[in-house]
Amino acid sequence: MNPQDYDIVLKIKDESDIAVSRQMAKNFAQKMDFSLADVTKIATAVSELARNIYRYAKEGYIYIRKKEGGSEKAPAIEILACDRGPGIENVELAISGGYTTSERSLGLGLAGIRRLMDSFHIESEVGKGTVVIVEKRRRVF
């Protein structure tokens, strides 16, 4: 991964960085012409990702970029969150959580992020860190 491939690089170190990253993601999604509902979903997902970094890893980065969809598809927004924190022991458990069962799963908000976005990938190793990559495609009108 090369940071230069991304449009926005956010360092998460302080609590206030959560609100900043949320705002940056919102502006970027707005510029990409996402619907207001999707802009809110993207900003919320970034807020959750930033909080996880701050809470569990103390510091980390969030990368945001626009991905062109070619002639066939609409463009998408890609968000990558990575940290060198403690990692997640049971990834399956962290991202599970149905509509009726536990509302907050492990309290990581990962289940929520997964529902808000079109694609969701997570790699985590205990003691090494966590990488989450999510994508949301703009709907064609």
């Binding site: 619907s35 207001l36 509902a37 002639s71 066939e72 509509y99 009726t100 709907r139 064609v140 009108f141």
Partner: protein
């Protein structure tokens, strides 16, 4: 080659056009071809004329025409021409797909009207299958309308929905919960026996909404709710949806 085409234009057209009404188009195309031939951007310049020609003749007729030109004209760049043809066909296909997508969208719009059926009451008759795309657009539209009209009750009629599986059920639950977050009530109606059967089997529970037998009783209930909430401060009746 340019000259060959121009000098023999009439004969070529006579030979190549399979019916009288395509003569004009072939002639236009051949002139553009002659004009573009040899220029740097030949490919780009004949794309449009070719597209135009394809509006009038089908692909097999075009191929026959190309073969004929190849036989009649020395040095006719057949491989290049065919490449352009393929590109143009690809573009036409994309255009068509886009049209289909647009029409699908128009259809989805038409299939989800939001009707103000009574004061403070909206009716949403759902018709057809719901995919994620349509469900999201519909939810956005409904939420927007509910907020802007300050509707007190939203009646969702699923009579026109062929089936509700866990995915569609999930969409509906999300939409209902969102409407409730705006402070409005949802009344669900029109659940057919086979849908009720699958809902229970799949464990989809619409416990966050009021369910009514038919549209008539749904509307009646909606009117009761809205008149309960009238009267402002020190209103007459109590009736809250507060869950302890």
């Amino acid at each position: 080659m340019k000259e060959t085409i121009i000098y023999n234009l009439k004969t070529l057209v006579e030979e190549i056009a399979e019916s009288d009404n395509t003569k004009k188009e072939w002639e236009d195309f051949l002139i553009s071809l002659a004009d573009a031939f040899g220029s740097e951007d030949m490919k780009g310049r004949i794309k449009e004329p070719l597209k135009n020609l394809l509006n009038f003749i089908d692909v097999s007729a075009l191929v026959r025409g190309m073969e004929l030109l190849n036989a009649r004209i020395e040095g006719f760049p057949l491989p290049e021409m065919l490449k352009v043809v393929i590109e143009v066909l690809d573009e036409i296909k994309n255009d068509k797909e886009m049209r289909i997508r647009e029409l699908g969208h128009v259809l989805a719009e038409l299939a989800t009207p939001i009707i103000r059926i009574w004061r403070d009451v909206l009716l949403v008759p759902l018709i057809g299958t719901l995919d994620s795309h349509r469900a999201q657009s519909m939810a956005e539209k409904l939420l927007e309308r509910t907020a802007s009209t300050r509707a007190k009750v939203v009646i969702v009629d699923v009579t026109g929905v062929p089936m509700i599986d866990t995915i569609v059920g999930g969409f509906l639950i999300e939409m209902f919960n969102a409407v409730k977050l705006l402070g409005s009530d949802v009344i669900l109606t029109g659940i057919k026996p086979e849908i009720a059967h699958t809902l229970v089997k799949l464990g989809v529970d619409f416990n966050m909404v009021i369910i009514k037998r038919d549209l008539e009783s749904a509307l009646k209930h909606a009117i009761e709710i809205t008149s309960d909430n009238r009267g402002g401060r020190y209103g007459q009746k109590r009736g809250s949806d507060y869950e302890e």
